[in-house]
């Protein structure tokens, strides 16, 4: 009987994944190219056409300035003003002026004329930059219905500044009401442009305002007021910032909490969350990101900078896929999980932190939405190629690249990825044209495909390493786009290799540890450990890499290729984490450190290791990986944080750290009984 259990479980997964597969296939067919019409008809007429978006059924229309005054007079804002007046002794009028000032700086002031201007210019620009802009029209229709029914929050993935321009552009094109977008205050630095963005629906928020009660109150009330009245869809980025690595970032819950409060407090009956996946064949900021990851600060947004960036207009950035996901009802998500009566005992205008239960709920839906974004991402051939290239540095032949890419394509499709592989074109042509688009990252020398900087790498200096790593990171940022497809089976594969066991329990134990270590690196649904494992294992079995006899798991003959490919795919992370984890055990390591000093010191340390050839993968130089690994150490209890007068100080718990390092090297841990029982 007990032998049956894993089988049946796999069985149920089969069904769910098959059905998922079907939708991914259909998805591609339903994409429409937005640019096609733009290339054929007048942009001016398009910009000046009649724009009559559908609106929320209970909408009471009002002007942006009326909205601002509602916010200013609202109970929560007035409450905080009075509180601050009491605390600081300042007159409430002055604080009120301050609040009004914040609102003035923050608020959007949507103007149709500016929108039309944008519609015109963006048409011109997008046509120059992008080959095609694919949109799933069914998703648009669903969004349109959702907007009429309940207040809507649109949650796009964030890979580029283009994201919100593109989204508004699409929504204008399809006659949807333009979203009000929470944008970083840094945009305001751009003269004129900032103001124009505001008039096209952006509102600006400071990147951090933890301590500023007034700002928080004004900002959150602003968002909530828009949602309550259904003035417009509210748009923000769950990931908080543009992902520099191409991987999804962990969801930030602050804005999500604000956006949820109207529902949690019963001020609206329901709300829709709409995940939107924007996939770029080539990201505008790719080189900037790579530099940033190596510690070069991000250039400040400025209009002159933007004008200088004009030269990118002459480049080809391929195609974009924008997938509007199925609107998710917040009420459905919350049913049986959150008791809203928790909000009954405190007047609703008094600011509060989410309760533990609510926080868990927000965390769960945040992760879920990011995963939904991932699921609907469209993967370009180049992503597959980058995955192959980065496993074969310094380079490989074109034939080999083609062979491996096609093999990877098959595997990826089995694993449920939707790949935008051109039809009716020979694979060779696909590969070649992708390479041509990527001339800044790779080049082909004598049939050998190598990274752009590879040939200059004559001598080993820190500077050269830096240059080389930029190319690696750029290439990696495309490989990273597909990691979410592979991460579960790959971690199972690695666990399989590491444990050298065929016992399901052992592999699961190792898997669960790896998942725990990498849970800041890759997005896993909280509390979904067993399902993640089942899914990973199931996919490996489906691809024929692993098969089950009795209760034991065995690698099949041809499975070796898949298993080792997957584990090599994630090796940069495994190696990187090991190096980072071991760093605090280094004799020269200072006992007390801050997160900043850790990163800075580690960079030098790692560069030296690379110079000596002790490290294989340069990706460890990425600050993103370093931050994630440090977060993992904190989560695992190997590093403890202390609040002191000078700020937050970290201390290493060497004993725990030692254990953590050991386990990652040969990750074998006793399995918790509860987990086994559920298997």
């Amino acid at each position: 009987m007990s032998h049956m259990a894993p089988n049946t479980m796999a069985g149920t997964t089969v069904d769910s994944l098959y059905s998922q597969k079907d939708t991914t296939l259909n998805k591609r067919e339903r994409f429409e190219d937005l640019m096609e019409e733009r290339r054929q008809s007048s942009d001016l007429r398009y910009a000046m056409r009649c724009y009559t978006p559908v609106v929320y059924k209970d909408l009471v229309p009002r002007t942006p300035s009326a909205l601002r005054s509602v916010v200013l007079k609202s109970d929560p804002v007035q409450y905080v003003i009075k509180q601050l007046a009491k605390e600081t002794g300042e007159s409430p009028d002055i604080i009120s002026d301050e609040a009004s000032d914040i609102l003035e700086k923050m608020g959007h002031s949507l103007r149709l004329s500016i929108v039309r201007f944008f519609a015109f210019t963006l048409s011109k620009i997008f046509k120059m930059l992008f080959h095609k802009v694919h949109v799933n029209e069914e998703g648009i229709q669903k969004l349109q219905q959702a907007i009429q029914e309940y207040p809507v929050v649109v949650l796009p993935s964030h890979r580029s500044y283009i994201d919100f321009l593109m989204l508004s552009y699409i929504m204008y094109t399809y006659d949807l009401s333009l979203p009000v977008i929470a944008a970083g205050m840094d945009f305001m630095g751009m003269k004129i442009v900032g103001e124009m963005l505001r008039m096209s629906g952006a509102f600006f928020i400071r990147r951090s305002f933890g301590g500023d009660k007034l700002y928080w109150a004004v900002f959150s009330e602003y968002v909530k007021t828009i949602l309550r009245n259904g003035d417009a869809p509210v748009e923000f980025f769950l990931e908080g910032t543009r992902s520099r690595t191409g991987k999804s970032l962990m969801p930030k819950l602050g804005l999500l909490n604000i956006a949820m409060e109207p529902f949690l407090m019963g001020e609206v009956f329901d709300m829709y969350l709409v995940p939107i996946s924007i996939s770029y064949e080539r990201i505008l900021e790719e080189s900037l990101y790579a530099h940033e990851l190596l510690g070069v600060p991000k250039p400040k947004e400025s209009t002159s900078g933007l004008l200088k960036a004009r030269k990118i207009l002459s480049e080809n950035f391929g195609s974009i896929h924008v997938y509007f996901g199925q609107p998710v009802s917040v009420r459905t998500l919350a049913t049986g999980i959150v008791r809203r009566s928790h909000y009954n005992l405190l007047p609703r205008h008094i600011p509060r932190k989410p309760s533990e239960g609510v926080h868990r709920f927000l965390d769960a839906i945040g992760h879920r939405l990011v995963v939904l974004q991932q699921k609907n991402m469209v993967i370009s051939p180049w992503v597959l190629m980058a995955t192959v290239i980065i496993q074969n540095l310094p380079g490989l032949t074109l034939t080999e690249l083609t062979r491996q890419t096609l093999w990877l394509k098959t595997i990826a499709e089995i694993f449920g990825a939707s790949i935008d592989w051109p039809e009716n074109v020979t694979p060779d042509k696909v590969i070649r044209s992708s390479l041509a688009l990527r001339h800044n990252i790779v080049k082909t020398i004598k049939n050998q495909v190598v990274l752009f900087q590879e040939d200059v790498l004559a001598e080993f200096t820190v500077e050269m390493i830096f240059k080389h790593t930029v190319s690696v990171l750029m290439c990696a940022s495309y490989r990273n786009q597909i990691l979410h497809v592979f991460v579960r089976p790959a971690l199972v594969a690695i666990a399989f290799q590491n444990t050298q066991s065929c016992k399901r329990e052992d592999i699961f134990g190792c898997f669960s540890y790896l998942r725990e270590v990498f849970s800041d690196e890759f997005v896993f649904l909280p509390g979904n450990l067993v399902k993640d494992f089942d899914e990973g294992l199931y996919l490996l079995m489906k691809s024929g890499a692993i098969h089950m006899s009795q209760a034991d798991l065995h690698m099949s003959e041809k499975g070796n290729t898949t298993i080792s490919f997957l584990s090599v795919m994630f090796e940069p992370f495994l190696e990187g984490y090991q190096v980072i984890f071991k760093y605090p055990l280094h004799p020269e390591f200072a006992d007390d450190f801050t997160e900043k000093s850790f990163i800075a010191a580690f960079r030098t340390y790692a560069a030296e290791l690379i110079l000596t050839g002790a490290i294989k993968y340069n990706e460890v130089l990425s600050t993103d990986m370093q931050n994630n690994a440090l977060a993992a150490l904190i989560r695992l209890g190997a590093v403890e944080k202390f609040k002191t007068a000078e700020g937050i100080i970290c201390k290493v718990n060497k004993q725990t750290l030692g254990r953590v390092v050991d386990m990652l090297a040969v990750p074998r841990i006793p399995v918790k009984n509860a987990a086994v029982a559920r298997l």
């Binding site: 019963g266 009956f269 008791r339 009954n344 007047p347």
Partner: protein, 673 residues
Amino acid sequence: MASEEREQPRARQRLRVMAGHLRRPGTGPAAPSTAEPAATATATATATATDCPALEPAAADGAAKATGSIPRRRQEILKWNGWGYRDSKFTFNKKGQGEFTGKRYRLSGMILPALKEWMEKSFGASLEHKTTPRTTPNLDLPLSILNEECLKDLKYLNIPFSQDPEDRLIRSHGHCLHEIFALREGKVQRVPDVVIWPSCHSDVVKIVQLASKHNVCIIPFGGGTSVSDALECPTDEKRTIVSLDTSQMNRIMWIDEKNLTAHVEAGITGQDLERQLSEYGYCTGHEPDSMEFSSLGGWVATRASGMKKNIYGNIEDLIVHIKMVTPRGVVEKSCQGPRMSTGPDIYHFIMGSEGTLGVVTEVTIKMRPLPEYQKYGSIVFPDFESGVACLREVARQRCAPASIRLMDNTQFQFGDAKHGDEESCENSNNVKIIFIGEWIVWIGHALKPQVASIFTSFLDGLKKFYITKFKGFDPNELCVTTLLFEGAREKVLQQEKHVYDIAAKFGGLAAGEDNGQRGYMLTFVIAYIRDLGMDYYIIGESFETSVPWDRVLDLCRNVKEKLVKECKEKGVQFLPLATCRVTQTYDAGACVYFYFAFNYRGISDPISVFEQIEASAREEILENGGSLSHHHGVGKLRKRWLKESISDVGVGMLKSVKKYVDPNNIFGNRNLL
């Protein structure tokens, strides 16, 4: 020997009673003191059944009329299968016109031309699709459980009782939808085994003693108007169930004009109490919508609330003294001081105990001189939001009239679907609301696309005055507040002005007395409409809650939307009626009343669907900051949420009281806990 000893004081008491009756109570200062012994006297006197009838005529021209309007065989005047009097009901005549039968109500005998259309338009009902309920009650009941010994003791008590199936059946239910539905279908579950009619406090003492002796379950029955499953007999109750019908304990035992109190037996109905007090120029002012049938004891046991509580207070404000018989003994306070600091108020264990602790037998209740002047009123608001804002302001300024109710748009349309034939358009200025109302019913459902043109042509027929007045009011948004002012004439007029001034600030327009009066007239007949609906596949129920002011709007919207949504999800084919009114105002919040009904054609198990939807609406109420109940009580219908509402410890506190007072669960109706 023993009987002689007993006989002597009884004779003396009877004498005193007679003496008391000779002097009309309420006319002289001696009234309270004479009346008090009378109470004891009647109690003892009625101890034997033979004494009771002898006393009644005497009492009739004395302190009170002993004959209440509800006889033992209540089925003789009340329906067995629906609400209220047998002679009063909504029906469609041969011409297909709506009509309200009987002579009891102002609406009685009137033709209601808009009713049919309203039912068709609002519910998708049709006169051709009629249900076929039973015409007579299903009396095929399980055998009465009653052992010989108990029966012998029962007979020895000399208190009238009955094992007649009809008597038992009609005391096995309240007025929840599923209860009435089951009656009409002839589905019978556990019913009481015996019905007993005590006629005084000491009768009750004896019954409770007997019940304790034989381990019998007592379920007190007052007016039978419960809407919380409180009267439902637990199906797994293996003991004999005695339905203790208090309807014959219905006398006013004395009134005390010095202290403005009346001591009354708890079985008296609201209408008897008010009518009899009015003969002396007084009233209690406690007017729950069920007051025609519900009893004083029932009000106490459920923490009832009356329409005019703004002036007179809710039951907890009206009570001065309570006497309750429990298995542990009689509980009461030793004085009638107006307020006491003597530990937690024991009356608060009794109020809301829902028959789980004992039987309330006698109550001293406050009374007031009959109001000098009464005036109805109504206000039209452009939308529900401004209406609520106005009510909130009225509550803030504490100038609420005796009653102030705000109906939402749908309910307002409903109210006007029923206006009588004789109130035609040329009548007076006051018909404006009716007109607009009917127009809404007409337009809102039948001719939507042509709104503008019909509106214009219709308005041509009205006086210019109204065009300007109503300009800007969206017929699908506007809603009406009905008002009832009571008190000294001067003060009423002053208050009226005050309220209308506030209303004006919120865009409200005074809409005349008639509309107000019609609104209140509907109060008593509205309960009859469900029976008509059930003839045409429409089932419905009302439920209520109380909620802080800042949550009123959100709660109303969310609950209504939840109802509509749930109907859709549960496969209800027609759009339901989901409507509400803000029916009471308080300093810190309001009482909201919902009416919910739908056409169940096409659903195989309508009652279970209905109950699921009602439960989800209750969940929604609780999640939106509303209470489990404002005045209907918990009963068995809502007890699953009690723990969440009053905490584990709170439930424990109640349980420990129950354990002490009634360790053997004699009062085993299993309400509340």
